[in-house]
C-alpha cells in the first residue's frame, strides 16, 4: 500500500466515523420584505447549513466550510483555511511546514483558546502539535461579537490529513480535511 492509498484508507475510516455523527442545522431562511412565509404544503426547508460538531458528536469538514461547535456552555463557529507554505519549499518535499488560518466567531459566551486545542492528524496516523506563528500569540479567549483569527503552523508529511479542534483539549469536536501537495 503506497502513501496515497494509505491516506485514503485512513481518511475514509475517519470520515466514516465522523460523517455519520455530524448533522446539518436546519434553519428556515429569513424572509425578505414583501415575500411571504414558507408554504405549508412543502417539507420544511433543510438547505445545507453549517455542520454541527461536539466532542460527543464530532463533525468532519473541509477548508472553507465552517462548523458550529458546541463547547462547554457555549457555541461558536469555526472555520479553517489553508495550508499555506513558506516560499522556497522544495518541489516534491516529503515534509512541509503548513500554516493554517483558523477563524473563530459568533461565540455565544467567552470561549477559552489554547494551542493544545488544535492538532494535525496526518495520513500515517501521526499526530502533530500546532504552534502559533512567531509573533502572533493566541488570544486567551474569543468573546461574543468578536472574531479571533489564529495562524497555526506544523511541519507535516506531504499528503493528506486533518486539522482537529478539541475545545476541551482532549475530545475532537470538529476536523477539517486538507491535502498538502508539494508538486
Amino acid at each position: 500500500m503506497n502513501r496515497r492509498t494509505a491516506a485514503a484508507v485512513l481518511l475514509l475510516a475517519v470520515a466514516t466515523a465522523l460523517a455519520g455523527c455530524s448533522s446539518a442545522t436546519p434553519s428556515p431562511a429569513a424572509s425578505p420584505a414583501g415575500i411571504g412565509a414558507w408554504p405549508s404544503f412543502l417539507p420544511s426547508p433543510t438547505a445545507a447549513g453549517a455542520a454541527h460538531g461536539s466532542a460527543t458528536d464530532p463533525a468532519l469538514s473541509f477548508a472553507g466550510s465552517p462548523v458550529v461547535v458546541d463547547v462547554a456552555g457555549a457555541t461558536l463557529t469555526v472555520d479553517v483555511q489553508g495550508p499555506s507554505y513558506p516560499a522556497g519549499t522544495p518541489l516534491n518535499a516529503t515534509q512541509v511546514a503548513c500554516t493554517f488560518t483558523v477563524v473563530l466567531r459568533d461565540a455565544s459566551a467567552p470561549v477559552a483558546l489554547g494551542a493544545a486545542h488544535f492538532d494535525v492528524l496526518d495520513h500515517t496516523g501521526a499526530v502533530h502539535d500546532l504552534a502559533p506563528v512567531a509573533g502572533q500569540p493566541l488570544p486567551a479567549t474569543v468573546e461574543p461579537g468578536a472574531t479571533a483569527t489564529l495562524e497555526l503552523v506544523a511541519t507535516v508529511p506531504a499528503g493528506e490529513g486533518m486539522l482537529r479542534y478539541a475545545p476541551d483539549g482532549t475530545g475532537t469536536a470538529a476536523a477539517w480535511d486538507y491535502v498538502a501537495e508539494t508538486d
Partner: protein, 716 residues
C-alpha cells in the same frame, strides 16, 4: 508548487431515498378541451390538470449535466440532488433533444429541431436561418409522425451543412411559445442573470449578441474576435458579465425580435434588476406576477463553467449556509452579485448556490402558492466525466462508488484488452467496435420521449440533422446528438488532414464528423510521483486511458491504467483547476507497474484511429464509428408545485418537445386569438390546431401527466 485543498469524500453519500413507485399512468387517450369549452371538469389533454390550475410557471434552465452527474451524489450537489426532489417531482427520464446547447433552447420554445449552427452555439455569425420560404409546408411521411417535417425550417444550405453555413435566427413565420402566450393574453417575462452588464456585448434586441446596431438581417453580429472594447467573448463568460446569448432563447426568433412589445422591459429583464427583476416581481400580488417566467442563470450559476471567471454567489451566504438576503440584499445595486465570492468553483457547486438563493424566494411568494410551478431542468446531458463533472463515474473513490448505486447507467473503464482490440488492424473503411468509454459517452446522446403511452428511444431528427449509415454501418451524419463526446473516423472528403496515405482510415460521404475531437498528438505534461509509486499525479482525464506513458521514472511499456478526477476543489482564483487528477500505470496486459524513480513529467503517446494506427499511436478511447447520436441524453428534471406531492418520481420519458407541449396545454394557448395563417399552421392553433408548435405537435406525444401532477385533485 501547487497547493491544493480538496474536498474528499466527506459526505457519506446515502441512497437517494426517493420513492420509486411505478407512476407511468395508463395512456388516457388525449382529449383536448375544444375551443370555447370551459366546463370545469374538462382536463387539458393528458396533463390531468384542469384549466387554470397552474397559474404561474418559473422555468430555470441549467447546463450540460446528465442525470447521473446531477441526481446521484457524484457531484455532491445536495440541494438539487436531494432537497428539491424531496419538495416535488423528479422526472428521472427527461431528455435533452440535442447537442451542444443552443439547439435545445430553440427546440424548447418553438419545437424546431436541430441544425448545425445552433448545435454549435451560433459561434460564427448571428444571421438568419433561412426565410419563411424555407419552412416546410407539406406533410412528409405519416402526418405528425416521426418523419413529418411539416412546419420545420429546412436550412437553405441543405441537410447536415457545416457550422457557419446555416444561420441561427428563425424567420417570422416560426412562432414561439411566447407568441402563443401573447395571443392567449398570458403574461410572460424572460429573466437573464448579468444581462447588459457589459455594454456592447448583448445590446442587440432581446439580449441578442453584439451592439444595439446589430441585427440578424442587415448587420449580423460576428461571433468571433475582434470584439467591441471591453468584450472578450460573445459565446463564453467574462468576469464582469457571465451572460451568454446562446442560453437565452428570445433573440433567436424574428417572431419576437420583430415585435417591440415582446422585447421591452416588461418582457426581457436582468434577473436582479431592481424594478423589473425576479425578486421585484415576486414581491407583487400574485395576479401581477408574470404567468410564465423564463430564467437563464449566467454561465457560472447554470453549472456550465467548471471554474467561474466571475462571481459564483458563494459570498451571498451566511456562515450557517443560509442565503444572506439581508446583508447581500436582493434588488437594486445591492444584489447578490455585488458580494465578494469566497471561491470560484463552478459546475453543480455553483448551480446549487444559485438555486439555494433564488428558489426559496419563489417558494415563499404569493404567486407560487397560488397555482405555482417551478421547473428546474437542463439543456443537455453531458456525460458524468471530468470537464463536465467534478468526478468520473468510473472513479475508484468513495464518492463515485456511492453514486454508482443511484446511477441510471453502469460505467466501465477501458481495460488493456479493450486497448489491444482497438489496436488490431481493420480493413479499409472499417473499424473495431467501440470500447467501453465511447459506449459510456454515447449514453449522453440518446433520445427519448413518450408516444401514445409508450416510452420510445427516438425523437424526430428534422430535416437538417439527419441520420444515415454507409454499407459498413458507419454513421455518416452527426444527427441531433452531433457526435457529441465521441470520436468519429475522419471523413474522406472533409477531414483530409486526418486521412492516412492510402485513405483507408476514413468514411466516404461522412459530413460534419467533428473528427477533430479526441485525436491528439503526443504531449508532455507536468506530473509527480515518488519512486516505487503506483500512482502519478498529473492533469489527465478518463479519455487518456490507454495512452502510452514515457519519461524519467516511468518503466518501459507503461500505459495509463485507471484515472481519478476528484473534486470539487474550492478554488480561490478563476484560473485554478477544480479537480485533482491522478492515474495508475499498467503494462500492455493490464498488470500494475510502479515508477522506477521520481517523476516530474511524462509524455503521453499520440492517439489515432482504431484499426488504422500509425507508428507510435495508441487508439483514441472515445472512438465510435457505429452508434448513432440521436438526441441530448437524460438530464433529469425537477418540478415543484402545490399540484405535486413532494417526493414524486416519474420514469416516463419526456423531452423538450414534451415540455413545450405541456406549457402549451397548461396555458391553453389554442384558445388564443392569433389565427392568421402562417407558412405552416397558426400561432394559436400551432401546427395541429390544438396549439402545438413544431415537434410538440407529434401525434401521441405525451405531455407531463398525472405521473407528475400527483396532487391535482379536481376543484370543488
Amino acid at each position: 508548487m501547487q497547493i491544493r485543498r480538496r474536498l474528499v469524500g466527506l459526505t457519506t453519500v446515502a441512497a437517494a431515498g426517493l420513492a420509486t413507485a411505478g407512476l407511468i399512468a395508463a395512456p388516457s387517450g388525449a382529449f383536448a378541451a375544444s375551443h370555447g369549452d370551459s366546463r370545469p371538469e374538462t382536463t387539458i389533454t393528458t396533463t390531468g390538470l384542469q384549466p387554470g390550475q397552474v397559474k404561474h410557471v418559473w422555468l430555470i434552465i441549467l447546463e450540460n449535466k446528465s442525470y447521473d452527474a446531477t441526481f446521484t451524489g457524484l457531484n455532491q450537489n445536495s440541494y438539487l440532488w436531494k432537497t428539491l426532489p424531496s419538495q416535488g417531482a423528479l422526472l428521472q427520464d427527461y431528455y435533452g433533444t440535442g447537442h451542444y446547447s443552443q439547439d435545445n433552447y430553440t427546440s424548447m420554445v418553438s419545437g424546431q429541431s436541430a441544425s448545425l449552427d445552433l448545435q454549435s452555439d451560433c459561434d460564427v455569425s448571428a444571421r438568419n436561418l433561412g426565410s419563411n420560404a424555407n419552412i416546410v409546408t407539406t406533410h412528409t411521411g405519416a402526418t405528425f409522425g416521426r418523419t413529418d417535417n411539416f412546419g420545420q425550417v429546412f436550412s437553405p444550405a441543405g441537410a447536415n451543412a457545416a457550422d457557419g453555413q446555416n444561420g441561427c435566427v428563425y424567420p417570422s413565420d416560426v412562432p414561439t411559445l411566447f407568441n402563443q402566450l401573447d395571443a392567449a393574453k398570458v403574461s410572460w417575462k424572460g429573466y437573464a442573470q448579468d444581462l447588459h452588464n457589459q455594454p456592447g456585448r448583448e445590446d442587440a434586441t432581446a439580449g441578442g449578441p453584439g451592439t444595439a446596431a446589430n441585427n440578424p438581417t442587415t448587420n449580423p453580429t460576428s461571433m468571433k474576435a475582434p470584439f467591441q472594447p471591453g468584450v472578450t467573448s460573445l459565446t463564453g463568460a467574462q468576469a464582469n458579465d457571465q451572460y451568454v446569448a446562446k442560453h437565452f432563447p428570445f433573440p433567436w426568433f424574428h417572431a419576437i425580435l420583430d415585435n417591440p412589445a415582446d422585447t421591452d422591459a416588461a418582457h426581457i429583464a436582468n434577473l436582479d434588476d431592481g424594478a423589473n427583476g425576479l425578486v421585484a416581481d415576486l414581491q407583487k400580488p400574485a395576479d401581477q406576477v408574470p404567468a410564465f417566467s423564463w430564467i437563464t442563470p449566467n454561465n457560472c450559476s447554470d453549472a456550465h463553467d467548471a471554474t467561474c471567471v466571475g462571481n459564483n454567489l458563494s459570498g451571498a451566504f451566511l456562515a450557517n449556509g443560509q442565503p444572506d438576503y439581508t446583508a447581500a440584499g436582493y434588488h437594486g445595486t445591492d444584489d447578490p452579485r455585488a458580494t465578494t465570492p469566497t471561491n470560484h468553483t463552478g459546475g453543480l457547486y455553483a448551480s446549487d448556490l444559485f438555486l439555494q438563493y433564488y428558489i426559496p424566494l419563489i417558494e415563499r411568494s404569493a404567486a407560487f402558492k397560488d397555482g405555482g410551478l417551478i421547473d428546474i431542468t437542463f439543456d443537455e446531458a453531458n456525460p458524468p466525466f471530468t470537464n463536465m463533472s467534478f468526478n468520473n463515474a468510473t472513479d475508484a473513490t468513495s464518492v463515485a462508488k456511492a453514486a454508482s448505486k443511484n446511477e441510471l447507467y453502469r460505467y466501465t473503464s477501458p481495460t488493456s484488452r479493450d486497448v489491444a482490440a482497438a489496436s488490431r488492424p481493420s480493413p479499409a473503411h472499417q473499424f473495431p467496435a467501440p470500447g467501453p468509454l465511447a459506449k459510456d459517452y454515447v449514453k449522453a446522446d440518446l433520445a427519448g420521449q413518450n408516444i401514445d403511452g409508450n416510452n420510445v428511444t427516438w425523437e424526430p431528427t428534422g430535416p437538417n440533422s439527419t441520420l444515415a449509415t454507409d454499407a459498413f454501418g458507419n454513421q455518416l451524419y452527426p444527427g441531433p446528438g452531433n457526435n457529441a463526446f465521441i470520436t468519429r473516423p475522419p471523413s474522406c472528403e472533409q477531414d483530409t488532414a486526418l486521412v492516412n496515405a492510402d485513405a483507408s482510415n476514413c468514411v466516404s460521404g461522412e459530413k460534419a464528423s467533428g473528427a477533430g475531437y479526441g485525436y491528439s498528438g503526443a504531449k508532455t505534461i507536468t506530473a509527480s510521483a515518488t519512486a516505487d509509486s503506483t500512482t502519478i499525479v498529473g492533469p489527465v482525464t478518463a479519455t487518456d486511458t490507454g495512452r502510452a506513458v514515457s519519461g524519467a521514472g516511468i518503466p518501459a511499456g507503461a500505459h495509463i491504467g485507471s484515472v481519478i478526477n476528484s473534486g470539487p476543489v474550492l478554488v480561490p482564483a478563476a484560473n485554478q483547476p477544480v479537480t485533482v487528477s491522478s492515474f495508475t500505470l499498467v503494462d500492455a496486459k493490464g498488470r500494475q507497474l510502479t515508477t522506477t524513480g521520481p517523476v516530474t513529467g511524462v509524455t503521453l503517446s499520440a492517439t489515432g484511429v482504431p484499426g488504422h494506427l500509425a507508428a507510435g499511436q495508441t487508439p483514441v478511447a472515445t472512438f465510435d464509428a457505429q452508434d448513432a447520436t440521436p438526441g441530448g441524453g437524460i438530464t433529469g428534471s425537477v418540478l415543484i408545485s402545490p399540484l405535486i406531492k413532494p417526493g414524486t418520481v416519474s420514469t416516463t420519458s419526456y423531452n423538450h418537445y414534451s415540455w413545450l407541449r405541456t406549457m402549451e396545454d397548461i396555458f391553453q394557448v389554442s384558445e388564443g386569438t392569433a389565427t392568421a395563417p402562417l407558412a405552416a399552421g397558426t400561432v394559436s392553433g400551432g401546427l395541429d390546431g390544438l396549439g402545438h408548435l413544431g415537434f410538440a405537435a407529434q401525434a401521441g406525444l405525451r405531455p407531463f401527466g398525472p405521473d407528475v401532477f400527483t396532487n391535482a385533485s379536481p376543484k370543488h
